[in-house]
């Protein structure tokens, strides 16, 4: 059950159906309320007209003659207006007319309850005064032309001893001759009877457009700030401009009950001109939606809008009086732009642009209806439909922006996921290439290690064993120190094995190992070893290859001491000096001259040993120095602390 409901709310059409249902419910509630309200509707009236010039104040008391003079009419009544009534703009000189409607009220029970008049709509383009039993009870006090005639009236009937309840109602309208002077039927009743009717009409005719205009403008301001930070997306600016123009256009539907802060002329100019700009910005907005700009059409629409805007400036053509031809030309422009936009939306497959342009067409049609209403061709108790299509524009714009917002969010989510995926992929690639590199490195290392051991075996153990073998074969075994040779071989082997274990930059550990290996031979030779190991910084370059070189150099040095010097004491000292470490092997024996041995004695084993020591020191970036001391000789092996430097002897 729950899952099926969830599925329902996730259908694409669900929100639309929900909206339509909500609208239908609201409408039916309105109808029910309207049908349950009461009051008396007065439709029979007598109309008297008097031509005047300029505007005069209404009399305090209505003339008695109205009840009998004039012609009988049925309310709502609207005289057919002239298409272009006058070019005179001065209120003092303008040709005006006073139209009186006199209505008789059926006898109402005098139960002391407050009575109200409800007037759904009136059109004056001038002033309005209402009399009850001949006494003035209401009069318009705002501007002459923009006098809030779109707003329904709910007027309290004064409770005096003269009129309770009133028997007659007189309506006086002084208006420009040729337009205005239309009046709807009049309702009389108690508040409870009339308020529902009044409220529904007030909401539909005034508040709905007012709310939607303000709300649209508010989101427009938001869009404007979006545009400020995203200048390359003009659609946000166009949204703001549309909302602003719509707001200006809709002002006349909910202001005017009170005097305006600007003159009729300027307000009329704004009201009449703004729909041109509405068409203009809508055209641009839709072009942004379907993505195809049309400079020619835009230029033409701009030209029409600018010409109209300038021509209707106050002091030139009064747009309020000339509104019929002005609106007619607007309709032509609107139809043209809307049809073009429909065509473009189909061509470029833009759903949003299509929605908007279709709504534009609907607005044009409603504009034709409204023109008919404005020209009194349709019962003046009707309402201006384009006000509602204006609300529709607000909703459509919200819908479009909502779509863009959701799309942006989804794009962001998508981009994040995409980024994560790409990152993972890249990471995998890196790991793979890293593993490959490590494998190559490992193989290289193995190769190096093999090379190193081969070289070591070849130079050391191998040659010693071959030498011993040749001696045995030559029958000179007796001349050999067999045990010494074998012990030397084993020592060699042990040092090779030691060099295979990592020492991790610890030179002292390496030297300690050497001592551990050679100690038995020193003891056997009766040489006392003085171990003087000072503090030594870690040598980060000290790997197995380097370790074996160091071991061999010192092994050779100690072997030389044992072989040649006849020393009693051997001192091994380790010191850090500056940026290098000095390992010194010192004996108190006879001493020897390595420099003399080197060039000439290169063939002798000692000479070869020294050459080996030198080349090994070279290979690890170290240096060797032989010194003759007071007693015995000394070998100093200098090792750099850091690989980037070479040690100096």
């Amino acid at each position: 059950m729950a899952s099926s409901r969830l599925a329902l709310t996730q259908r694409r059409w669900f929100p639309w159906v929900a909206w339509v249902l909500a609208g239908l419910v609201a409408l039916s509630v309105a109808f029910v309320v309207e049908s349950r309200s009461g009051g008396h509707r007065l439709t029979a009236a007598r109309m008297t007209t008097i031509d005047t010039t300029g505007y005069q104040l209404p009399p305090a008391v209505s003339p008695e003659s109205l009840r009998t003079s004039g012609q009988a009419v049925t309310m709502p009544h609207a005289p057919p207006p002239l298409f272009a009534p006058t070019t005179e703009t001065s209120p003092q000189k303008i040709a005006t007319r006073v139209t009186w409607y006199s209505l008789s009220v059926p006898p109402l029970p005098n139960d002391g309850r407050q009575l109200y008049l409800y007037i759904p709509r009136w059109k004056s383009d001038g002033s309005l005064a209402i009399y009850a039993d001949g006494q003035l009870i209401h009069q318009s006090h705002a501007n002459l032309q923009w006098n809030g005639s779109n707003e329904p009236l709910l007027i309290k009937v004064p409770r005096t001893d003269v009129s309770q309840p009133p028997r007659t109602l007189d309506v006086r309208m002084q208006h420009v001759r040729g337009i205005g002077g239309a009046f709807s039927s009049v309702w009389i009743g108690t508040y409870r009877q009339l308020a529902p009717r009044y409220t529904i009409r007030e909401i539909l005719q005034v508040q709905l457009t007012s709310f939607s205009s303000f709300a649209f403008l508010a989101t427009g301001v938001f869009a404007f700030f979006v545009w400020l930070s995203r200048r390359n997306e003009p659609i946000y600016l166009l949204y703001f401009l549309t909302s602003a123009v719509v707001f200006v256009r809709m002002l006349h539907t909910f202001v005017g009950m009170h005097p305006l802060i600007i003159s009729d002329a300027w307000f009329g100019w704004l009201t009449v001109v703004s729909p041109y700009w509405m068409v203009m910005v809508l055209h641009l907005f839709m072009a942004e939606l379907h993505g195809k700009r049309q400079p020619l059409l835009t230029g033409a629409a701009l030209l029409v809008s600018v010409v109209t805007t300038i021509a209707t400036l106050p002091g030139l053509i009064d747009p309020t009086l000339m509104s019929a031809p002005v609106y007619a030309s607007l309709l032509v422009l609107g139809v043209f732009v809307a049809f073009n936009s429909v065509r473009q939306s189909v061509r470029f497959k833009s759903r949003d642009a299509m929605l908007l342009s279709v709504w534009c067409l609907i607005t044009v049609v409603s504009g034709i209806y409204d023109l008919g209403l404005q020209q009194n061709l349709i019962s003046i108790e009707s309402v201006f439909v384009s006000n509602f299509t204006g609300v529709g524009f607000t909703l459509l714009f919200w819908y479009i922006m909502f779509g863009r917002y959701i799309e942006a969010l989804e794009t962001a989510t998508q981009a994040k996921a995409d980024l994560a995926r790409r990152l993972a992929q890249r990471e995998a690639e890196l790991t793979a290439s890293h593993a490959k590199l490590r494998e190559i490195e490992r193989r290289e290392l193995l190769h190096q290690e093999r090379q190193r051991l081969m070289q070591d075996m070849h130079d050391g153990l191998g040659s010693t064993l071959v030498g011993a073998l040749r001696a045995f074969e030559g029958g000179k075994a007796a001349e050999l120190d067999t045990v010494g040779i074998l012990r030397g071989c084993i020592d060699d082997l042990k040092l090779t094995i030691d060099s295979m274990e990592p020492v991790e930059t610890d030179l002292l550990l390496l030297l300690a190992t050497l001592r551990f290996r050679l100690q038995p031979r020193l003891e056997a030779a009766g040489v006392k070893l003085v171990w003087d190991a000072g503090e030594v910084p870690p040598l980060e370059w000290l790997d197995q290859r380097h370790a074996l070189h160091i071991l061999r150099i010192l092994q050779e040095a100690i072997a030389n001491v044992l072989k040649h010097s006849g020393a009693k004491t051997l001192t091994v000292s380790v010191r850090a000096e500056g940026d290098q470490v000095l390992v010194r092997v010192q004996d108190d024996g006879r001493g020897f001259e390595p420099a003399g041995l080197l060039p000439s004695g290169a063939l002798s084993s000692g000479g070869r040993g020294l050459a080996n020591q030198l080349s090994r020191a070279e290979a690890i970036g170290g240096a060797i120095r032989w010194e003759e001391t007071q007693r015995g000789s000394s070998l100093a092996l200098a090792l750099p602390v850091s690989k980037s430097r070479r040690a100096v002897p």
């Binding site: 190992t513 551990f516 171990w531």
Partner: protein, 231 residues
């Protein structure tokens, strides 16, 4: 030593070794030492097990590479069955991997196979008297095993306490100092002088360190078995 040797019965020494040459060398070494008596020789794991069923001896020397198994197992069994016997592993290179494995199994020293015969006899005497040899690399390895995993000091302290309770021993400061001096190449005599103790004390330190290493490895094995749900 000589006085002791003269005043008491000779030490009973047994050997587990499959190499006939070393067997012979070992016999010769002991024959030259009146205070040492060869009481048994085994060439395989099986023979060694049989030998362990007999009366315990004072010193057992075990080679690791036996034809039918590893000498480490024999060391472990001997440590249990002959608790009073000092066990040595016979090795050519004293490489840390083999020696440490043997010590963890219960050995308390090693014998270098290429040592001169008198040295072999002397090493046996020293071991029986409570002294254990240690190479710089083994010292370093032991230090690393006992080093608390890189942790902040306080946490490490807590950890050490927990280890104490759990039965895993830790090294004392002096034991650590001894090991550090060994890794720097100093001999027992030199260390004794540097630390201001006798050579015997240094030997005792090493023996104690070996014992701790053994306990530690056993406890850890139990921990690991528990962690893997084997116990």
């Amino acid at each position: 030593m000589n006085m002791e040797a003269a005043s008491s019965t000779p030490l009973k020494v047994a050997l587990v070794e499959d190499d006939a040459a070393f067997q012979q060398a070992f016999r010769n070494a002991l024959a030259a030492a009146p205070d040492l008596a060869m009481v048994g020789v085994a060439a395989t794991v099986a023979e060694a097990r049989a030998m362990l069923g007999e009366a315990p001896c004072d010193v057992l020397v075990v080679d690791l590479g036996l034809p039918d198994g590893s000498g480490v197992d024999i060391i472990g069994e001997a440590h249990i069955r002959w608790p009073g016997c000092a066990i040595m592993v016979a090795t050519t290179f004293a490489d840390e991997r083999h020696v440490i494995a043997s010590i963890e199994a219960g050995a308390s020293g090693y014998l270098l196979k290429d040592s001169p015969l008198p040295t072999i006899a002397e090493d046996i005497r020293v071991l029986h008297a409570g002294g254990s040899p240690i190479s710089p690399r083994i010292a370093r390895q032991v230090l690393m095993r006992f080093r608390p995993d890189e942790k902040p000091a306080e946490e490490g302290a807590v950890d050490a306490e927990a280890a104490e309770k759990s039965g895993i021993p830790s090294l004392s400061e002096r034991e650590k100092e001894t090991l550090q001096l060994i890794t720097r190449g100093f001999s027992f005599e030199e260390i004794a002088e540097l630390m201001g103790v006798s050579r015997n004390t240094v030997l005792t330190f090493v023996r104690r360190i070996y014992a701790k290493l053994e306990v530690r490895s056993k406890t850890e094995a139990v921990f690991e078995a528990r962690a893997y749900g084997l116990l």
